[in-house]
């Protein structure tokens, strides 16, 4: 595949990098990344991946843009309020980079649709806001052997890890099961500083770019945590892929996807 002069200029800052070069940029243009959730994490990740020239970007979300999203979900604008988030995100990505083929999935992931959704992609990004989705995405990626960037944000804290099924530990190796319903507050109840999505979502995009181009070391086997108030990052070494993991061990006890029940970011006036 040859580059046009316009592409050479657009991607010049990548091509100049010894680690990326022409080959790395070609890999990016030929790659396919699925972002699940077009919210606080998915928004910045989608912006950077589109700008980087990731050839196919899938984006899945069943929500519409709400005024309260705009404090952190930087891919949407005030004019987008009421639109499907996937459509709003797709418009912005296409406007940034016409090289990118955006595929939208106006759906929340569940056990019935996720395997089909992730099948075509090289790298999956979890930008969801609830535990049932996070466990579902982890299990599906383990079963389909898809590399996954997991992340979560709340208040002034964020965390992420990269899961390479069969190689490093998965989300379920660290956290065996979702917490009891209502034991952990959601973003809506607890709040989140807007830039946290930018920090952690951008790190997820960085992992995707590194995975695709094959440069550097991935966050597989580590959990990176960020405390914005203390301005501290910690890179925590995780135990190796667990023998006892219910989903990713050599003898898994979970072989079918589970739809856990939990009110995901559901808050009603009058709730505490």
């Amino acid at each position: 595949m040859g580059f046009t002069n316009e592409q050479l200029e657009r991607y010049s800052r990548h091509i100049i990098l010894k680690e990326i070069g022409v080959k790395g940029q070609k890999k990016l243009l030929e790659s396919k990344v699925l972002i699940i959730g077009a919210g606080g994490l998915g928004a910045p990740a989608a912006l950077y991946l589109a700008a980087a020239g990731v050839g196919t970007i899938g984006i899945a979300d069943a929500d519409a843009v709400d005024l309260s999203n705009l404090q952190r979900q930087v891919i949407h604008t005030t004019n987008d309020i009421g639109k499907k988030k996937v459509d709003s995100a797709a418009e912005t990505m296409r406007a940034i980079n016409p090289d990118v083929n955006v595929k939208t999935y106006y759906d929340f992931v569940d056990s019935t649709n996720i395997m089909d959704m992730i099948a075509d992609y090289d790298f999956i990004m979890d930008g969801t806001d609830n535990f049932p989705a996070k466990f579902l995405i982890n299990d599906a990626c383990v079963m389909a052997k898809k590399p996954l960037s997991h992340a979560g944000i709340i208040r002034f804290k964020g965390q992420l890890t990269t899961i390479l099924p069969g190689e490093g530990p998965c989300y379920r190796c660290i956290f065996k099961n979702p917490p009891p319903k209502d034991a952990v507050p959601t973003c809506k109840q607890a709040g989140v500083i807007g830039a946290m999505g930018g920090v952690i979502g951008s790190l997820q995009a960085m992992e995707a770019v590194k995975y695709i181009t094959g440069v550097g070391e991935l966050l597989s086997g580590y959990l990176l945590t960020y405390d914005a108030l203390k301005m501290e990052f910690h890179k925590i070494k995780l135990p190796p892929r667990g023998k006892g993991c219910a989903v990713c061990s050599d003898h898994p006890t979970i072989t079918k996807l589970i739809d856990y029940e939990q009110a995901a970011c559901e808050w009603h006036p009058g709730d505490k």
Partner: protein, 83 residues
């Protein structure tokens, strides 16, 4: 043309672009070559001739020769090192 002492395998003209695309085009041309092959880069005086040879060297390639064409342009001969 004077005796170069080597054979040029490919040529790239970067006089029609400015930094950083000058180096980008040179890199693209180098990637097409095999280890040990030689690229002739036609480049302008000034910023290109100051920066492109250094950047090419930083990437591990070998500069064989730089000749002044006397018309504000240069020929930079680079041997590709690595795959």
């Amino acid at each position: 043309m004077e005796e170069l002492g080597f054979t040029v395998d490919d040529t790239v003209d970067i006089t029609d672009v400015v930094c950083p695309v000058t180096f980008v085009k040179t890199k693209v041309a180098l990637e097409e070559l095999e280890d040990g092959q030689i690229l002739d880069v036609h480049l302008n005086d000034g910023e290109p001739v100051q920066n492109v040879p250094r950047s090419v060297k930083d990437e591990g390639h070998r500069i064989l020769k730089l000749t002044d064409n006397g018309d504000g342009t240069y020929e930079l001969y680079v041997m590709k090192v690595g795959d």
